[in-house]
Symmetry: C3
Subunit: 355 residues, 3 copies
């Protein structure tokens, strides 16, 4: 290889991607109890299964697994240098399944496959669809999801011959989820220790829950979180550049909002100990340091898992806002179409609870 | 259980408590070397026993125990959702004994008993006294203390028939402390490595020590600390609400001040490797981010521990201030009665030192 | 020992040091995966060997070693209370060699020898030269370096009879480095996972690499880092005092800048997995919170390691700036002599790469 080529990572442009291309991402990462402690310090999560080895063991885990969203962020972070370094916008994600538990000491790595490419009519950008899969050190899949981003072309005249828009799952079915939870013993699940006496059968489709509490975000916090996940997206860290940009501020990683909303949701969903799948999510508006995040959830659906009577599933829609309490469940504005200006996240996902 | 009742935690109001009531608190917590690293990053503590496995082993521990105050904060944090969510004021604590060492990997949980109830004459609030006990995963007591808080009534007409003001210990005796320290070999205790050649016999009752150094507190730091302890008191995290409140600021967790003062006290008390008991403490004034904390201590008493010649005890009074150095030992104002306006903490506790 | 002497650490003044004096520093420190997680959260480092047990094992380590600069900071931090508490200026360091790998669970301690003393002509200060050595719990040397600082005299009339200016190595030779890296299997080193296909032979002396990315520093971040390293230099933590000082601000620990520059250098030097030596460094200007750090590097030299064909060495000069991108490789100002005012660090060091 020549020493004269730039050795820094220029990222991939739209025309660099090929349908069916498989990308092994850099920086395998051993996740530890150190990461778990930082995750707690950053979000204040209190779900008993992830918080306590003793609790996890009692119901059937070998010991406490790592938080599902910590795993998601670490797996996701690896894709940034290859997929979204030249992204104009993160358009969406879908079909995210948690497939195996991840424990302290496991090493995570990520591989992506390009499953769709669609150039925009302006000839300057295109949409790249990838399925990314996280693996542990044994080669077992721990997580997969589809993500699509709008990426710049470097050479507007470049032709991407083979294009395709993939079919995206609108939501995962109960049969597709639960792989990351061993069969548990619900009778050993201590609701008092877990923080709630409400079990799966207490929740009903349509039910709305205000999570009450608010959490103010500081620059140091979201930067530390995003670096912990080894996510290198420049907009989160560089005030010199962002100060001259559209917002004049560093933009907070969207995953930080998801983790905050999940931690806040403990108040009302304390027994929803596992995020089993993310059907889709929309980062409706950016979040900046100094804002206070609130959240509320609606139960979209309750479901049994085929062949399992230890846990049941709730499909949730969780809405996060900034600088606006959620006791009146804000979602849309006066016109009933546009989001309320305070809404920053609209997330559709499955959680599991003991039955 | 009905799905129509609110599933969020409303906390307990004064009339919800009963004398003799036992409350098992939520969220057991496995504490790890990750928590220890964060504790060091947040407070900068340098006591050799907690900092070094090799040092701890040399004197008789199996390996380095976790910092005593980290244990306190974790045990304490669990009580907040049940005891003080609707508190008007934290009035005091007393009789806090450290009963067994806690090591990385141990799981902590907390149980409280209501030992006193006294309605205030205004009929709107009452004082709740609880004895809280922290346990490890083997069911051994690691910590207990009494705390009393003023709690709102939800229904002012509610009658709390059975009331009682418990007797509170003014200070623990030397015979009651030391259980969290195995018998150590003082000849293997290396004072140079520990940072001081002053052993227990060098300290005298009445002696005053300025701890010299100052530590400025940032919002991100106290929020991360308080979340690490899974303490959910709203005033520490929610600038949106607090910005409209009495102070216009997030209030820093009182325990954060105690841990800062303890870390600062290393300069002058480096061999006081163990906090054996907290006799009582008063958070004289609130602390806010941006302020710089200083501390000084007075030796109130020196004591032998019955039956032990490996360690001796010092009863200390440590005073922390904000934005005021402590070289002149500030305590009371000009009238000699009211605290100096810079004082934020007045703490009475026992520490152990090698003999 | 008398209880009437002040028990706080006054630090050493110039006249307190003696040629040949050996100082065992306080606070042995067990470094853990918790420290590694915090280091990642603070700097965002992504070198695969330190990030992944699986990657490290594949090439020949027993598991992932701790980051070299984390080890440096911990070893260095211990010297502050004895060497530089009364320092006027940190003048330089040289000949820093990483001698053995450090793994989570190891306990680090530091011993310094005074190798030079030279009083300044003003009679108020003198320069103290020390060689500091970091040891693990087995007594093996893991790191050594020479550092010189200008220290105040307490008594200007005190005479320091025995003075000497030691010879300082201008740079370490390839024969002197590499001890901290076991013989690795370069064929098992996966460049895709490591984040770069550029191996040692791709780099050429004279080559300049802009590391592109910028990182903004927050007060909470540098304070947490510096406390994690148990570095007690007052200027980093005490806004009350520093606010009245020369800069009106807390000064950021110089080692924080080195770690940021090293983490940024991943973009262009991803396979430079080990810092083998620091030949010397200059903190050209102070860094304050709110500034954004950028970095670029020049390859000064490429070298084989005598007797090893698994790894090769690059001697690098890395320049860090504040609030100025480095795409035009800023170094000197218009006069070609003085540093560009944006430059904050000029570091000369050896890194190792697989061959």
């Amino acid at each position: 290889m020549s020493g004269t080529k730039p050795k820094t990572n220029p990222g991939n442009y739209f025309e660099d991607f090929r349908l069916g291309q498989v990308i092994r991402h850099a920086t395998p990462r051993t996740v530890t109890t150190g990461d778990a402690a930082l995750y707690t310090a950053l979000y204040g999560n209190r779900f008993a299964v992830q918080s306590s080895d003793a609790f996890a063991k009692a119901i059937g885990y070998p010991h406490a697994p790592l938080d599902d969203l910590l795993v998601f962020h670490v797996v996701f972070g690896k894709t940034v240098p290859d997929i979204s370094l030249n992204a104009v916008a993160n358009l969406g994600y879908a079909g995210c399944r948690f497939l195996a538990p991840v424990y302290p000491g496991d090493t995570l790595s990520t591989v992506s496959e390009v499953i769709g490419l669609k150039e925009n009519s302006n000839g300057k950008t295109g949409v790249v669809y990838v399925r990314s899969t996280g693996y542990n050190q044994h080669g077992a899949e721990v997580l997969d999801y589809v993500r699509w981003v709008m990426v710049r072309k470097l050479d507007e005249k470049a032709v991407v011959a083979d294009q395709k828009v993939p079919e995206l799952p609108s939501a995962l079915t109960p049969a597709q989820i639960g792989g990351a939870v061993p069969v548990i013993d619900p009778s050993a699940y201590d609701g008092v220790l877990a923080g709630s006496r409400h079990s799966w059968s207490d929740y009903q489709a349509g039910e709305m829950i205000d999570h009450v509490d608010g959490m103010t975000v500081e620059e140091a916090e979201h930067q530390m979180a995003t670096r912990l996940f080894q996510n290198t997206a420049k907009v989160h860290f560089n005030q010199w550049t962002e100060g001259q940009g559209r917002f004049g501020r560093r933009l907070i990683y969207g995953g930080h909002v998801i983790s905050l909303a999940r931690a806040l949701s403990f108040n009302g969903l304390a027994n929803a100990f596992h995020v089993a799948a993310i059907n889709g999510g929309r980062h409706v508006a950016p979040l900046f340091a100094g804002c206070t995040v609130f959240a509320w959830s609606q139960v979209l659906e309750t479901a049994e898992l085929p062949g399992r009577d230890d846990v049941g599933a709730l499909r949730l829609r969780t809405i996060a806002t900034k600088d606006r309490p959620t006791n009146d469940f804000p979602l849309y504005g006066a016109d009933g179409k546009e989001y309320d200006p305070a809404v920053i996240l609209d997330l559709d996902y499955w959680v599991l609870m003991p039955r």
